[in-house]
């Protein structure tokens, strides 16, 4: 699994962090997504997919 993020689309809602806190964080100054782990272990796939589905800006792409 590989994760691609589009910072230009990110709106800083933080939904991804609520879904998968081991993989995503937010910048302090503007809330834009920080990818903590671009190639997370496979067992986190459901959480990462949930994060991508809940992102209100569709800024997360999961390549399986």
């Amino acid at each position: 699994m590989k994760i691609l993020i589009d910072e230009g689309k990110c709106v800083g809602a933080g939904q991804c962090v609520l879904a998968a806190a081991d993989v995503f964080d937010q910048r302090d100054e503007d809330g834009i997504v920080i990818l903590l782990d671009a190639v997370p272990p496979h067992e986190l796939l459901p959480q990462v997919q949930d994060a991508a589905a809940r992102c209100p800006a569709l800024a997360i792409e999961v390549v399986e």
Binding site: V11, A13, L18, D28, E29, D30, A53, R54, P56
Partner: protein
């Protein structure tokens, strides 16, 4: 589990697309039909009043899925075609072209239509903004350097004022409330939002009703206020709220009120669910029916509605989200979670609502405010504090299921 061979989604925006995604991801392999009034594949609305109107994004960047991802959903796409009726007894959706779609499952995601004033809309130069096409039409008119009057200082009107001012235009923002965003987040934060507009050179006309518009040769020339003021205008944007797009459901047997009235599982009738801006349901933690006009809700509610449709009523789960919304103007990000009623008591818990002049940017405020009703925290608002706000979400989940 109900037997489902054909699911129809009416509404082709964020909620409808999310429902399609969720149905396929959950293993639905039957026929999936998506009906959309606009002749466009699903696109995102929050960027319309911001990046698209500003010209910072090419219009296609607001498209929610690439063509290949749409194809992967194996949908029968009926775009540019309005649904005109629903028969829940026969399980048939009627379309404007006369076609009739039978269904075993239906998800209604028809969203909103902009409210209009009882006058003025026949004049050229008077706009509403809900669709991408409306945004591009407005943007084209802005290129001529018009004087702009925005009527309504809620989230949409405030963003349009900020974006048009950012293009260097002469902008006046009018509202009946004492401050911008007063209905949405109260007058304390609204006052700060008003300061921000003034600092950027937008003229505010608060506590004023619009009583009319004047035109010349069919083109708007001015907006008239209740104190007799005449605001010269070449372009007027009416952003006075929206109404749920439910007119096509008249006579369907569905309970309609402020939207499609659902139960706690987003179900409006057997095998019929609703999600997004159009759905009205009893929120278990809110103490009553709510309807949320928030982008995040479109996604979350569509996920729940899709899963509940597939699982059937016996297995359906209640929908009890912590609401989340945001607005961006002048580079400032205002986010809300939970409820931020205008009569709440405000407590600043993080940061400083006073402008930090030391760093040379008088607009650089940063704080989190809690909204309390009867001593109970019901919501929180972050002003340039996205990360800090998330920490306060837990204060709300104690009062409201996650």
């Amino acid at each position: 589990m109900p037997t489902l061979d054909h699911i129809v989604l009416v509404g082709a925006s964020a909620a409808g697309l999310t429902a399609a995604d969720a149905l396929r991801r959950e293993g639905f392999t039957g026929t999936l039909t998506m009906v959309g009034e606009e002749l466009r594949t699903p696109y995102d609305r929050p960027p319309l009043s911001k990046q698209v109107l500003a010209g910072d994004w090419e219009p296609h960047r607001s498209t929610l899925r690439q063509d290949t991802d749409i194809q992967r959903l194996r949908m029968n796409l009926r775009l540019g075609c309005r649904a005109t009726g629903l028969d829940t007894a026969e399980r048939v959706v009627t379309l404007a072209d006369g076609d009739r779609l039978g269904y075993d499952g239906l998800i209604i995601t028809t969203g909103l239509r902009p409210r209009r004033l009882p006058f003025g809309h026949e004049l050229a130069g008077v706009h509403v903004l809900r669709t991408l096409d409306e945004t591009l039409t407005l943007r084209a008119q802005l290129l001529a350097g018009p004087r702009v009057v925005v009527i309504g200082a809620g989230f949409l009107g405030s963003e349009i004022a900020a974006t048009t001012r950012g293009l260097g235009l002469d902008v006046t923002l009018v509202d009946v409330e004492p401050t911008p965003l007063a209905r949405q987040v109260g007058t304390w934060v609204g006052g700060l939002a008003g300061d921000m507009h003034r600092d950027h050179g937008v003229r505010l006309r608060m506590r004023r009703h619009v009583t009319g518009m004047t035109g010349d040769n069919g083109r708007v020339t001015a907006v008239v206020l209740d104190d007799g003021t005449r605001l010269p205008a070449d372009v007027v944007v009416v952003a006075i709220g929206s109404v749920p797009a439910t007119e096509w459901l008249a006579g369907s047997g569905l309970a309609l009120g402020d939207g499609v009235l659902c139960d706690v599982t987003c179900r409006a009738a057997p095998r019929v669910y609703a999600a997004g801006d159009v759905a009205n349901w009893p929120h278990p933690a809110a103490g009553g029916r709510v309807r949320l006009e928030q982008r995040t809700n479109a996604t979350q509610q569509a996920l729940t509605a899709a899963k509940n449709l597939l699982s059937g009523p016996a297995e359906a789960v209640p929908y009890a989200p912590v609401p989340f919304g945001w607005t961006d103007h002048y580079g400032t990000k205002i986010q809300t979670c939970g409820w931020c009623p205008s009569d709440a008591t405000i407590e600043v818990v993080d940061g400083d609502p006073q402008p930090r002049k030391a760093d040379g940017d008088p607009q650089a405020r940063k704080f989190v405010a809690l909204y309390k009703v009867d001593g109970r925290v019901v919501g929180a608002l972050g002003w340039n504090s996205a990360r800090a706000l998330r920490e306060y979400r837990s204060h709300l989940t104690e009062n409201s299921a996650a």
